[in-house]
C-alpha cells in the first residue's frame, strides 16, 4: 500500500459544471421536496382569507423548479462537452465489456462477496449506473412538474410543448407520478450519502472532498 501512496497526485476530475450542477440540484431538490410535501398535504396555516401561505409555498416550489430544470439541462449538455468523467458514456458502464466487469466487481464488493474496494478516477460502475437512473428521475420530475404547471395556461407555448404528456398521463396519474418519484429520489439520497461515506473510508480517494474541490488522489502512470 505504502508504495502506491508514494506516487499519488491530485488529479482534477470534476470540472466546474459538474460540481455546480451537483450542488444546485441538491439544494433545489431539498427545497422542492419540502415545499412539495407541503403542497401535497398542506396544513391550515392561513389565518385569514387574505393570507398567502400556499401561494408563497408554490412560488418557492416553482422558482426552485426553474433552477433545478436549468441545472439539469446544463449538466446534460455538459455530458457532451465535458471531460471523460462527465461524459454520457461514464453513466452506462453496461455498454462495454470492461464496464460490465467493473460493474460486477463493484457489485460483489457492495454485497460483501469480495474485499477489494473499487477505486476509480471517475464514478464507480455501480454508482454511475445509479446516477443514470437518477437523471431519468430528474427528467421525469421536470416533465411532469412543468406539465402540471402549464395547466394554468392551456394553449400557452409550454402547454403545447407538453402535449404528449397529457396523452400519456391522466391528470391524476401525472400528480401521483410526480409525488411518488419524489420518494424514489429520497430513497436514492439516503443510499447516496451512505455510499459516499462508505467509499470515502474504504477507498481513501477523498471522494467526499472531490465534489467540493474537483480533485481526487490518483496514482501516476508508471
Amino acid at each position: 500500500m505504502a508504495d502506491h501512496k508514494a506516487c499519488l497526485y491530485e488529479k482534477y476530475v470534476w470540472e466546474v459544471p459538474v460540481r455546480v450542477t451537483h450542488w444546485v440540484n441538491m439544494l433545489s431538490i431539498v427545497v422542492l421536496a419540502v415545499t412539495g410535501i407541503i403542497i401535497g398535504s398542506p396544513r391550515t396555516l392561513g389565518l385569514s382569507g387574505s393570507d398567502y401561505v400556499m401561494g408563497w409555498v408554490r412560488f418557492v416550489h416553482f422558482t426552485a423548479a426553474y433552477a433545478f430544470a436549468v441545472s439539469v439541462a446544463a449538466r446534460i449538455w455538459w455530458m457532451f462537452r465535458g471531460n471523460r468523467y462527465a461524459r454520457w458514456r461514464e453513466f452506462f458502464p453496461v455498454i462495454s465489456s470492461g464496464g460490465r466487469a467493473r460493474l460486477w466487481e463493484t457489485f460483489k464488493y457492495y454485497t460483501f462477496l469480495n474485499k477489494k474496494a473499487p477505486h476509480e478516477v471517475g464514478h464507480n460502475a455501480v454508482a454511475a449506473s445509479a446516477y443514470s437512473l437518477v437523471f431519468l428521475l430528474y427528467i421525469v420530475m421536470a416533465l411532469t412538474g412543468f406539465s402540471l404547471y402549464a395547466e394554468h395556461r392551456p394553449g400557452s407555448l409550454m402547454h403545447v410543448v407538453m402535449t404528449p404528456l397529457y396523452t400519456l398521463f391522466s391528470n391524476q396519474g401525472m400528480r401521483l407520478t410526480h409525488h411518488m418519484v419524489m420518494w424514489l429520489l429520497i430513497g436514492f439520497v439516503i443510499n447516496h450519502i451512505y455510499s459516499i461515506w462508505l467509499m470515502d473510508i474504504k477507498e481513501r480517494g477523498g471522494v467526499v472532498s472531490s465534489i467540493f474541490s474537483g480533485y481526487k488522489a490518483v496514482q501516476r502512470k508508471e
Partner: protein, 371 residues
C-alpha cells in the same frame, strides 16, 4: 329610469320585425341581451352580437337529430327541467328537432321515418346531437334501437351530419358505462365513428349554456368553435376549474376543510384536501354554473368530481381523496405511507450495511490508476 326608456327606444329602432321572439314571450331587449351574453360566453368581441342576432333571426331552421344511447337521460333532463323557459331553450326551439326519443310525439316506424327523411333530404346539413355512450362489445348487441345497433346508427347519422355535438361525458368519452372493466365496450362518438366531425361537450350533465353557445356559434359562423386537445370547445373548457374557483383565495391563503361539517367547511374554505378535483379539471363551471347560474358543486360545499375529463370514473377516484390509490397497494395506503416505508427500509438496509462494513477487516483498495 329615463335613461332606461331611452335605451329601450334605441333597441326598438334597430329591432325591425321581431315577431318570432315576441311571440314566444321574449322581449327584443332580452333577445339582444342574450346575443351579447352569447358573444361574451364564446369569448367573441361584443361587436359580433348583431351578427349573432341576425343568424338567430334568419328563417333557415337547421334540422337536429338527437340520439340517445347508453345514458341516464340526464343531459336531456338538464335541458328540459329548467324552472322557466330561457332564451337559450328557445334557441333550441329555433332548431327543427326532427328526432329526439324522449320528447318527440311520434313513435316506432313513424319516428324512424322522420329520422331517415331528415338524413335523406338534409344530408350534410343537419346537426346530430348524441347523448350516451356507444357500446361496441358483442357486435353492438347491448344497445339496439329499431333493430339497429347504436354503432350502426351513429355511423349513419353522425357520418352524414354537418357536425355532431356530444352532450355529456358518456357520449364524449364513454363516461360511466366505459368505466373499468367496461363490460359493454362503451366508447365516445369520436372513437366509435372516427370519420365524423365531432365536438365534445362533456360534463355530468352537460351545461345547457355551453350547448346553446355551441349551437349559436354553429348557426352564426357555419362552423364549430375552436377546440382543445380533447375535442372540447375552448370557450367552455379552456380554463381549469381551480384557477377560476370562488374558493381559490382560501387555497392560496392556506385555509382548508379537514372534515365534512368542520368550522372551515361551514366558512366555505378550500376543498383541496377533501379530494376536490378542480385542479385536474377543465370546465367553466365556476363562471357558468348550473341551473340558470344558481350553483355548482363547489359552491354547494362539495368538491369537484372531475366529470368533464376522459375516464374520470377511473382516474379521478377515490372522489374524496386528493391522490389516486397506488396500484398494487391496499385502499388505505396513501402514496406517502408507501414513500415513508421506502425511505425507512432504505435507511435500515444501509444502516445494517454500514455496521457490517465498519466491523469488516481486510478491505483494501489499490487506489485509482490513471489510464
Amino acid at each position: 329610469m329615463a335613461k332606461k326608456s331611452d335605451d329601450h327606444d334605441e333597441m326598438k329602432q334597430c329591432s325591425g320585425t321581431a315577431g318570432f321572439w315576441e311571440e314566444r314571450g321574449v322581449s327584443r331587449r332580452d333577445f339582444l341581451k342574450f346575443c351579447t351574453a352569447m358573444s361574451a360566453a364564446l369569448a367573441l368581441p361584443v361587436s359580433l352580437a348583431p351578427k349573432i342576432a341576425e343568424a338567430l333571426e334568419s328563417d333557415s331552421r337547421p334540422s337536429v337529430i338527437w340520439l340517445e344511447f347508453q345514458s341516464c337521460t340526464g343531459d336531456t333532463e338538464a335541458l328540459l327541467r329548467a324552472a322557466n323557459p330561457t332564451v337559450g331553450e328557445i334557441v333550441l326551439d329555433v332548431l327543427s328537432v326532427d328526432y329526439a326519443e324522449t320528447i318527440m310525439a311520434a313513435a316506432g316506424y313513424q319516428a324512424e321515418e322522420a329520422k331517415h327523411k331528415t338524413m335523406k333530404e338534409r344530408g350534410g346539413k343537419y346537426i346530430a346531437i348524441v347523448e350516451g355512450s356507444i357500446p361496441t362489445g358483442a357486435n353492438g348487441a347491448y344497445c339496439c334501437i329499431g333493430g339497429k345497433s347504436a354503432l350502426e346508427i351513429a355511423r349513419e347519422v353522425c357520418g352524414g351530419a354537418m357536425a355532431t355535438i356530444t352532450v355529456g361525458t358518456c357520449a364524449s368519452y364513454g363516461g360511466i358505462p366505459a368505466a373499468a372493466p367496461n363490460p359493454t365496450g362503451a366508447m365516445g362518438v369520436k372513437d366509435a365513428v372516427p370519420g365524423a366531425t365531432v365536438i365534445n361537450l362533456p360534463g355530468c350533465p352537460v351545461n345547457t349554456d355551453n350547448l346553446v353557445a355551441t349551437v349559436v356559434h354553429l348557426l352564426t359562423f357555419g362552423k364549430l368553435p375552436a377546440v382543445d386537445g380533447k375535442g372540447r370547445p375552448q370557450f367552455a373548457y379552456g380554463k381549469r376549474i381551480h384557477d377560476n374557483c370562488e374558493r381559490r383565495p382560501h387555497f392560496d391563503a392556506g385555509q382548508y376543510v379537514e372534515a365534512w361539517g368542520d368550522q372551515a367547511h361551514r366558512k366555505g374554505h378550500c376543498l383541496y384536501k377533501m379530494g376536490c378535483k378542480g385542479p385536474e379539471t377543465f370546465h367553466n363551471c365556476p363562471s357558468q354554473r348550473y341551473n340558470e347560474k344558481t350553483a355548482w358543486p363547489v359552491s354547494a360545499g362539495h368538491g369537484c368530481a372531475g366529470c368533464s375529463e376522459p375516464y374520470f370514473w377511473d382516474s379521478m377516484t377515490p372522489l374524496y381523496k386528493r391522490l389516486p390509490n397506488v396500484p398494487g397497494f391496499g385502499i388505505e395506503t396513501t402514496a406517502d405511507t408507501i414513500g415513508l416505508g421506502l425511505a425507512a427500509a432504505t435507511a435500515a438496509a444501509f444502516g445494517v450495511h454500514g455496521v457490517v462494513s465498519a466491523f469488516r477487516k481486510g478491505d483494501e483498495s489499490e487506489g485509482a490508476k490513471e489510464e
